[in-house]
Symmetry: C2
Subunit: 185 residues, 2 copies
DNA sequence: GGCGGTGTCTATCGTTGATAGAAATATTGA
DNA sequence: TCAATATTTCTATCAACGATAGACACCGCC
């Protein structure tokens, strides 16, 4: 079964190359520059090959980038929270840094990809893990931890989105961070 | 100058028809269905006419819908706040109702249209007025009213966006509203 | 070495946003 | 009232998009 193993590996590698190319392209030139032809060029294949890996085409690629983004956030976030004395501060800073440093990936995670539902049976594990990170930061001892986590998440998301669209005063960034943390306690 | 007056009026009317058509179409079938050809059909003209009214083409139309949306929000919000005994509750409910009832317009206001900056010299009056509504709800007596308003706005926007993408638990909607209001005080 | 199956490419479809240049309409002067 | 002019509108088209059918080429197997 050696040949088919190699084929499976090659397919997985190409899958990753597509996702990586999409992510890099999106971060450098925006999602509007991520076209099926451009992606195919990037991996040295022709467009139809994309649809072998992502039957949903361009949307499928965006969704894959979104999932990869959630995985990255969980990895970075849980690493930062391990051994930190103030989990809330860490999660706030990690979240905002992630959104600022990878705006296109963040966009895929929240604005572009619509397929999955949260807080539902079908919610993928990575998404649950991401939300759990925020619940942990709030503290599971609160009986209303879920609601408080949702509100913190919403506030974080709102600040990131409004900042990204230049809707907030840059001079107040530090004050926003402080108030955000204070209100979550 | 009678003929040119009539022409100016007709032009303004057609401008409004385009914006209205875009808005209606977006609310009923989503922004992806709002194409230049479809808009032209809707107003019984051919595509080039659109570019006479909106040199930026489709983006210009979306921006116009966004501006109209802000104007509507200010109108609805200030009417609701006049004579209300709890301005904060009113602004929270008005905001969330607006986002829920006109999701496509809301999308244009915050996700699609990127041209304008807030909290800057060039910020259009309607956008300032919308933000002022939130500052009023916080209360101008606070010395940190601006920051608190920005955070409230962010939380509202975050909740609306995450709800729209089914990222929050529907069962917790009332609890979210209560906590949002409590934290803003 | 030839055969069957998998993988890849060429060529193309319909649609999109956008525009140049032709045609038609309206306005203004005599 | 009618011709000259200015303005408006349409026809025709461009390049690029997402997507796919069918032809071609390659690979592993007997």
């Amino acid at each position: 079964m050696a040949p088919s193993d190699r084929r499976a590996r090659e397919k997985a590698e190409r899958h990753d190359r597509i996702v990586t190319a999409a992510r890099t392209l999106a971060e450098t030139q925006g999602w509007s520059s991520v076209t099926t032809r451009r992606l195919a060029d990037e991996i040295d294949y022709t467009p139809p090959v994309l649809y072998q890996h992502f039957p949903d085409g361009r949307h499928g690629v965006i969704a894959a980038v979104a999932l990869a983004g959630f995985a990255d956030f969980v990895a970075v976030g849980s690493a930062a929270m391990a051994g930190a004395d103030d989990a809330l501060v860490v999660v706030v800073d990690t979240y905002m840094s992630f959104a600022r440093d990878h705006p296109a990936t963040y966009e895929a995670m929240f604005s572009l990809s619509v397929p999955v539902e949260f807080a539902a049976e079908s919610t993928p594990g990575v998404l649950r893990a991401a939300f759990d990170l925020i619940v942990d930061a709030i503290g599971r001892d609160h009986d209303d931890a879920a609601v408080r986590a949702e509100i913190l998440w919403s506030a974080l998301h709102g600040v990131c989105e409004l900042e990204r669209h230049h809707r907030l005063d840059p001079a107040l960034a530090d004050a926003r961070r402080a108030l955000l943390i204070a209100q979550a306690r």
